[in-house]
C-alpha cells in the first residue's frame, strides 16, 4: 500500500477517538505511519453483520408478540449476548436463562431476579420487560 492509497472512508470511527494506524510506503519505498479513519470494505462487513443481527431481532420480536418467546430472548439477541455469557455476568445458570427466553417462564420471574438480569445486561427493568 502506498501512502496516497491509505483509505480515509470515515463512517464509524469518526465520532470516537479510535483511529486506525496504517503502514504504507512512500515514494522511496520506506514505510510510514498514516492515521486512517476507516475503510469501506471493513465498514461493509461491519454493517452487514449488524444488519443481519437486527433482521433476526425483528423475527424474534414477532415471536415475542405472538406470546411464544419472552422479551429477554429479544434483548439477548439485540445485545449480541448468549445464555453462556449472560450467565457469567448475572450469576444465573445457563439453563435458567434459556428457560426465561420463553414467555411462560419469563412471566414468573421475581422483581429481584429481573433487576439482576437487567443489571447484567446494562438496561433498565422497564426495558427488559418491554420491546424497546
Amino acid at each position: 500500500m502506498k501512502v496516497n492509497e491509505v483509505p480515509q472512508d470515515g463512517k464509524i470511527l469518526e465520532s470516537s477517538g479510535v483511529r486506525d494506524v496504517c503502514y504504507a510506503t512512500d515514494e522511496n519505498g520506506d514505510y510510514k505511519q498514516i492515521i486512517s479513519v476507516g475503510w469501506d470494505a471493513k465498514n461493509v462487513a461491519l454493517d452487514f453483520t449488524w444488519e443481519s443481527i437486527y433482521e433476526e431481532c425483528e423475527e424474534i420480536k414477532k415471536e415475542v408478540l405472538s406470546g411464544e418467546k419472552s422479551p429477554l430472548a429479544y434483548h439477548l439477541h439485540r445485545l449480541i449476548m448468549t445464555p453462556e455469557i449472560l450467565s457469567d455476568y448475572s450469576g444465573f445458570s445457563k439453563r435458567d436463562i434459556r428457560r426465561w427466553c420463553k414467555a411462560k417462564h419469563f412471566v414468573k420471574l421475581q422483581k429481584e431476579q429481573l433487576e439482576q438480569l437487567a443489571c447484567a445486561l446494562r438496561i433498565s427493568v422497564e426495558q427488559l420487560t418491554s420491546l424497546d
Binding site: 477517538g17 470494505a41 461493509v44 462487513a45 461491519l46 452487514f48 453483520t49 457469567d88
Partner: protein
C-alpha cells in the same frame, strides 16, 4: 497519581502497549520492531474455537506472546498475572501503580465505553495500559485511541473480567527489571525472524501458518453449500472484520512486518531483507484485495458477482506468496530449528 507515560497510538494494540512500556523504561523501539522481534506475524483458522458461533480466524499469536518474546530477547525481566478474585486483581493493580509501575493488561472490548458501538463485539484480546489513578478513575493508554482516555473502577473491573471466547481473567503484565537489558543486535533480529519462519511454516497442524490459509480456503469453498448464502456471508464478514479491524488487522500486520524487515535490513546490513520487505508489501496488498472483493460479495451489488471459489483461489495465492517469502527468509537466516 499520574505516571509520566508517553502515549503513542499504533497499528496493533499489543505492539503499542509494549513499545509504550519500553519507552517508559528508556528503551526507544518502534512498533514495527516490537512486532518483528515478537514474531507477531501469524495465521490461524480454528474451527474448534467459536466466536459469535463462527470459527475463529486469527492473524496474531495468543495475546501476551509478543510481550514475552520481545522482552525475553532483550533479557528484561517481566511479571505476568492472572486472577480469579476480581477485587484482588484491582488491589494488585493499585499497589503496582503506587510503586510507579505502568501495567499492561488484557481486556474485552464489549463494555469499553470509548469504543464505537459498532465495534463492541465479545472480542477479548485487546491490550491497554493503565498509567495512573485519580480517586476512582484510571488513566488508560489505549494504543488504538489517539489520546489517553479514562475508565472508572467499575468499568475497568468489568472489562478485565469480560466473558465469552478466551476470557481475559484479569490478565496483566509489567516490566519488573531492566538492569540486565541487552541491545538489539543482528543476532537478536535473526532469531526473531527464524522463530517467525518456524511459526508460519513448521507447525504440523493444518490450521496454523501458511497451511492455515489453505485450510481456510478449502473450507470456504464449501461454505455456501453447507450453510446457505446468508450464513456464508456472515462467516465471510467475520473474516473481513478480523482481517481489517483495528488491533487485529491481518493485512495491516503484513505491512507492519514489512516495515520491520526494512528496519532489520539496516541492523543486519542485509539488502536482501529490503527486497523481501517489498515482497511482503505485495502479500499485504493481496490481503487487501481479498478483503475488498469479499466486501463486494457481501454487498452483492455487482452484475457479475465474485464467488467463494474465486475468493478461495485468492487465499491460495496468498498462502503461496507468504510461503515463498518465509522459505526465503528461513534459507537466508540460519537453520530452521524445530520449535
Amino acid at each position: 497519581m499520574q505516571l509520566d507515560f508517553i502515549h503513542k497510538p499504533s497499528g496493533h494494540c499489543e505492539n503499542g502497549v509494549v513499545s509504550n512500556l519500553l519507552r517508559y523504561y528508556g528503551v526507544e523501539m518502534s512498533e514495527a520492531m516490537v512486532f518483528g522481534l515478537g514474531s507477531g506475524l501469524f495465521f490461524a483458522h480454528m474451527p474448534f474455537i467459536r466466536l459469535h458461533g463462527m470459527a475463529v480466524t486469527s492473524f496474531r499469536p495468543l495475546p501476551g506472546d509478543i510481550f514475552s518474546r520481545v522482552l525475553s530477547l532483550l533479557n528484561i525481566k517481566i511479571k505476568r498475572y492472572k486472577f480469579r478474585d476480581r477485587e484482588r486483581a484491582m488491589r494488585t493493580l493499585d499497589s503496582l501503580l503506587e510503586r510507579g509501575i505502568p501495567v499492561g493488561m488484557l481486556v474485552g472490548v464489549y463494555h469499553l465505553p470509548y469504543f464505537p458501538k459498532e465495534y463492541r463485539f465479545h472480542f477479548n484480546a485487546h491490550n491497554i495500559c493503565v498509567t495512573g489513578k485519580e480517586g476512582d478513575v484510571y488513566t488508560v493508554s489505549d494504543p488504538v485511541v489517539v489520546d489517553k482516555c479514562t475508565l472508572t473502577y467499575d468499568e475497568l473491573k468489568l472489562v478485565r473480567f469480560a466473558s465469552g471466547t478466551y476470557p481475559p481473567k484479569g490478565r496483566m503484565y509489567h516490566i519488573a527489571d531492566v538492569r540486565s537489558k541487552c541491545d538489539v543486535t543482528a543476532e537478536t533480529v535473526r532469531r526473531a525472524i527464524v522463530k517467525n519462519c518456524n511459526r508460519m511454516l513448521k507447525i504440523p497442524v493444518p490450521m496454523f501458518g501458511v497451511k492455515g490459509i489453505r485450510f481456510l480456503a478449502w473450507r470456504m469453498r464449501k461454505w455456501e453449500g453447507r450453510m446457505g448464502a446468508k450464513r456464508a456471508a456472515l462467516n465471510l464478514a467475520q473474516i473481513v472484520r478480523m482481517n481489517e479491524e483495528i488491533g487485529t488487522g491481518g493485512a495491516g500486520f503484513r505491512f507492519i512486518y514489512a516495515a520491520f524487515l526494512q528496519e532489520a535490513s539496516v541492523i543486519m546490513n542485509e539488502p536482501r531483507l529490503r527486497e523481501l520487505s517489498a515482497e511482503m508489501t505485495i502479500a499485504g496488498d493481496m490481503w487487501r484485495d481479498f478483503s475488498y472483493n469479499a466486501a463486494r460479495l457481501i454487498k452483492k451489488r455487482d452484475a457479475e458477482p465474485i464467488t467463494y471459489d474465486q475468493l478461495a483461489d485468492k487465499l491460495v495465492a496468498i498462502s503461496q506468496k507468504e510461503e515463498a517469502i518465509f522459505r526465503d527468509l528461513a534459507k537466508g537466516f540460519g537453520p530452521c530449528k524445530q520449535m
